[in-house]
Amino acid sequence: MLLFIALIPLLGALLPLWAGGRRGRDVSVWTTAAVTAASLALLLWLSPVVFDGVVLQANWPWLPQLGLNFTFRLDGLALLFGLLITGIGLLVILYARYYLAERDDLGRFYALLLLFMGAMLGMVLADNLLLLLLFWELTSLSSFLLIGYWHSRADARQGARMALTVTAAGGLALLAGFLLLGHIAGSFELSTVLAAGETVKNHPGYPVMLMLILLGAFTKSAQFPFHFWLPHAMAAPTPVSAYLHSATMVKAGVFLLARLFPVLADTDLWFYLVGGTGLITLLFAAYAALFQHDLKGLLAYSTISHLGLITLLLGLSTPLAVVAGVFHIINHAVFKASLFMAAGIIDHETGCRDMRKLNGLFKYIPWTATLAMTAAAAMAGVPLLNGFLSKEMFFAQTVYQAAAGGEVHWLLPLLATVAGIFSVAYSARFIHDVFFNGEPINLPRLPHEPPPYLRAPVEVLVAICLLVGIAPAYTVGPLLAIAATSVVGGPLPPYSLAIWHGFNLPLLMSSLALIGGALMYWQRRRLFRLGDRYPPPDGKALFERGLNLGIAATRRLTEGLENGSLQRYLALLIGVALVAGVAGAWQGGELTGDQPLPPVDLLSLLAALLLVLTTGLTMLWHRQRLTAIILLGGVGLIVVLAFIRFSSPDLALTQLTVEVVTTVLLLLALRYLPSDALPESMPSRRLRDAGLAILAGIGVAALTWGGLTRPLQPELAEYFLATSLPGGGGANVVNVILVDFRGFDTLGEATVLVIAALGITALLTGGFPLPIRSSPRVVSIEERWPLLLRMGARPLLALTLLLAAYIFLRGHHLPGGGFIAGLMTALALATQYLAGDFRWTTAQLNLDYQRLMGGGLALIGFTGLVSALFGYPFLTSAFTHAHLPIFGDFEIASAMAFDLGVYLVVVGAVMRILLELGQANAEENGWKP
């Protein structure tokens, strides 16, 4: 049953949308009212049990693993709020029907209103912190949409956005607070949490948690200094203001304070934070309300002030203060809703809300004026009206606190009286300025009495004001009692709800407030002048200035951090990596391992120095590309020496050939780069880069040191050394790995090489633009192809080919192999092109490199397939020995065919790339393919 109270409006929100679309306005009113009435009826039906002191609970599991369940509880507090929400809701629905203009979309309005109502009901009924929070956020959202209902108006949009920003921010703070609270209490179920008061208050996380939760509550209830959104939310249609900003949404904050009262209250921190904020808000807003010229603005500030009063009462933490607070929640909702509605009528009838123009309306709308004046009197705390009672109780509480001594003494009653004076003064202003005080000035239209249904809700509410004010014990007494009981969480001390308590201090304070307020209003002109000179700070301007400052700051941050410069990004990346590395090293642990290093010999030292020198020179001359490339080649050659020194001839051979080929390739590719040097970067940046480079170099050196002084992981090497000969039939482990153990990989690599060569061909055949140069120098054949080189190159070809064959054949056992042989062959061929005329050489050699690569790849694949043919897995190898004169004994393995494939692919691919690059070169000199 409980579930439906909140669910009916939430689901019912679809009805007016549907009804508003095709049926008339009245249909949507009736459906909305029916939905609300259904909820109200359910509440009333359940209420007798609650009055007996039973807490109704209902539980539907939803997300048990998150601790989030649909659990609801109906206790006194929830019942009180539920009745307020649905009761005033019904009146607002009726009021809005006549208030909103024909062109306004009623369906949408009612849908949003019901959505909000459902969210509010869900919030007050929730028995789970998370559920409460969900509904809390939903109220923020739906109120955002309601405030922005007239979304064509700029102030409505701004007001809506500000309200949402502030309350949503508060909501998220609340989320963090609830997370903590749930964590401390061990459950998110309210029943458990409420019982865990002592644990929570003694927990070290209590202050943080309390502050976060209060942040949520204060933003929602517009407490100082988060009050500024409420006056600007007055751009909402008046029915929304009457509903949200008097009776319901702004009360959500105080509801939360009341709901969590047993867990959080009664600590010093609570007293100072809640009480202090309440007091400041009460005074500040009452003062500010006096200076508002906008009718609704006055009411908004007065609402803030009254909310501050309630917050202050809850902050006092005594049971009687709670009773007074709860009582004032009811009273304020009733008289403020009626005041908003009355203000709406005036706005509706005159088209104006400025109190400097609205004067003397009494004679035009006497009945509405009477109603509004009664409600305003209730707000001022005039006897026989409900506001008087709760204000009296409030004064009594301040006196009681003062009498109890302690930290607060006479200041509290004094300030309370001052606030009372302000409150009377602005109420007087509302009454006198609007309904008397001469004649209306320049009103868009002169008012007359509104349609009776627009006024009816006001009449009902004012009647309640009177009834409660005259006979409190018979009207709200029981409801107040159960509500306050559920807030305090225990029996209430005796109190009396009478109008007359005899002559005492509170009565004196009330009288003082009334007289002082009247006096203050009488002297208002002087006060207004003062107010003009020292206007109360405008929260909105501050909010927006803060916002703009924030945006400007983030913009600066963006420019500093994200200027689009790759260099800066790189510097940042390396710098942070360095810091991270140093931080890692800081944690301790030994950098140097226990592996002794081999002794340093002179030769190695010299080579290392040479390496450093060439690298340094490369860096220095990197703008002169040719020099840089040649120096880079030098670096590679020294690495070859290092390989030889550490006895890996195979790697040395590979490195040697690869180095030469890459240098040639780079030189050819140089043609495609613009010849003019790039501009030098600024000295400061070069300094930064140099610093980073040196630091990073030191870091890497340290890491290398750490690696070198630690033992190797010998398993892999031992495995290959042991199985190379018996498994692959070769003593040259590197080659056996390439063609046998990891033959599959080599197949893949060979394919990649072919694809790369073809890709380069495809890229360059399309006509790759060469940078424009000054007209080619006319050179003689002799200068271009020196005779000595031409003559020397030819025998070199034969020799190199022979060497390549040798290297290839012995490759399986001794340093060598197809890859190195291939590179050598390619180099020999390239020399021919370099030494002679390109066209002539091409014609002479007459080699189709594309076919060469293709054939090589096919051969590799074929070798693999043969083994498959014999029933072995793909690429299984077989080998035997053969003896040739001169070459000696060598291995004929199926891997040999495989290696031949590699050889062909390498020759073909390298030549293909070289020729493509060289061809462009030749074309520039007038050669056509």
């Binding site: 969900l134 956020e137 949402l164 949503a168 963090a176 941050l557 800066r568 990346l573 990596a577 890692g584």
Partner: protein, 479 residues
């Protein structure tokens, strides 16, 4: 030396995608431009086929194959399914956009599918080597994709930056991997984990390895301070590519963290937790703060990605099963939101017009109320508004770190999501409250409209009933 064939069955989806992609490359060569939709269809078919293969072989218990380099487990399978799903959506949203820009070429789908394959390999990696291979396959595809519009200087610049920085980061990752290998003698994550558990954090080489791994991973994730490439790439790349980069790879990135940090280096949790705390805090702060100042919505979403990555890290650094599940849930939800958000951007773009400024969204409600609604749902979900998927994602990660006692970090997260809410809601305000600056109708094909609607509604459905996805995540991480 005999070649022992591994069990290929668990790798079937990967093999299928690989074979189909190669097939598509070949088929595409023989197609004329007006037949290019065949390529598109085949690409979608590939994803569908892979999804079916994964679905029917959904792992009950983890299986390793490929000599321990590959693992098929429920986490991987679930992530893969979402990778297919989001990639399919990406292909669909991009189709018309590419067609209008003369970019409707086979390369987009080919590179996209290779990227998907890379993600699949990452997700199922069980050795540092496979992780690296998958990552590079993905990265290389992405580098090329960013530059796919070769006439756009901004795209080329973005691709160049991405490539240079990405290569450097890959280098660091590799460096880290080699150190881990040096310290443990293996790249197999299980062996690494055992070895690390034995020697602890005293070994400096291990610590260095971890540092470089985290640096490399953070770069790939785009966590601050390694995020520099992300905004430039998001903004510079054609929106269809941004859409791709911004969605499915985040799922793979999550898997990457899980595999390396949790499965491989779980014993060093104390060390990497500290690093991730810094990264997460910085990411949430920088991402959310800078996003406020952006006028370009792609750039804004880039910073929003950075902040979301920060949140996702929160779940992982919690170091508990709940935290991992929360992070996984977060990632999946985030990816669904990102696909939707970029999807809307792409749908608003026309021939010769890129909807990339927030102002271009003004008055979307007047032009197309349904699309406006979808955008609102996505933005609010990103902001973490209750009853939408994004809320539970945030809630779960926050709860997981509160449970391990990192309350201050949770509060920081909340503070920055408040700041984040501001710029998401600004978009909503533009969409609903501002006057439209242009009135061209928004062209959408029916299938696109259906999918983008489903995308938006999915966030609502997950928001109302998140249990299903949460349970999937939790159970996927159990085995």
């Amino acid at each position: 030396m005999n070649f022992v064939a591994p069990d290929f069955m668990p790798v079937l989806p990967e093999l299928f995608v690989l074979a189909m992609t190669c097939l598509i490359v070949v088929v595409d060569v023989f197609l004329e431009q007006r037949q290019r939709h065949i390529t598109y269809g085949l690409a979608q078919l590939t994803l569908l086929g892979a999804a079916l293969l994964t679905l029917f072989s959904y792992a009950q218990a983890p299986v390793t194959t490929m000599f321990g380099h590959y693992i098929k487990d429920a986490m991987g399978d679930l992530l893969k399914l979402f990778i297919y799903l989001t990639s399919a959506a990406v292909f669909l949203y991009s189709r018309d956009y590419l067609r209008r820009r003369d970019l409707f070429k086979g390369e987009y789908y080919m590179l996209g599918l290779f990227g998907v394959l890379g993600m699949m390999v990452m997700v199922s990696a069980h050795s540092l080597l496979t992780v690296y291979l998958g990552l590079e396959l993905l990265s290389l595809s992405l580098y090329a994709l960013v530059a796919i519009d070769r006439d756009s200087p901004i795209a080329s610049e973005a691709a160049m930056k991405y490539f240079v920085l990405g290569s450097l980061a890959s280098g660091m990752l590799l460096y880290g991997i080699s150190m881990i290998y040096g310290a443990t003698g293996s790249v197999d994550l299980q062996v690494v984990a055992d070895s690390v558990a034995n020697q602890g954090a005293d070994n400096l080489v291990l610590v260095f390895g971890l540092v470089f791994l985290v640096v490399g991973l953070s770069f790939k994730l785009g966590a601050v301070p390694f995020h520099m490439w992300l905004p430039d790439v998001y903004q510079g790349a054609p929106t269809s590519v941004t859409l791709f980069i911004g969605s499915a790879p985040k799922l793979a990135a999550f898997a990457l963290l899980m595999r390396i940090l949790v499965e491989g280096l779980g014993a060093l949790q104390g060390d990497w937790q500290q690093m991730l705390v810094i990264l997460a805090a910085l990411s949430m702060a920088t991402g959310n703060l800078i996003a406020i100042a952006q006028a370009n919505i792609k750039r804004m979403l880039a910073y929003s990605t950075i902040s979301h990555i920060g949140f996702m890290l929160l779940g992982i650094l919690a170091g508990t099963p709940d935290g991992y599940a929360a992070a996984m849930f977060y990632t999946i939800v985030y990816v669904l939101m990102a696909v939707g958000a970029f999807g809307v951007i792409i749908l608003l773009s026309r021939a010769g017009f890129e909807a990339e400024n927030i102002d271009d969204f003004k008055g979307l409600n007047d032009r197309n109320p349904w699309l406006a609604f979808v955008m609102m749902v996505i933005m609010m979900s990103m902001a973490g508004v209750p009853f939408l998927a994004g809320f539970y994602a945030k809630w779960m990660v926050l709860q997981s770190i509160v449970n391990v006692g990192l309350v201050w970090l949770a509060i920081l997260g909340v503070v920055f999501s408040v700041i984040g809410a501001f710029y998401y809601l600004r978009v909503v305000k533009c969409v609903y409250f501002d006057k439209p600056e242009q009135n061209e109708p928004i062209e959408m094909s029916l299938d696109t409209e259906i999918v983008i609607s489903a995308n938006g509604l999915l966030l609502v459905v997950i928001g109302l009933y998140p249990t299903v996805l949460m349970t999937w995540c939790a159970t996927a991480l159990l085995n």
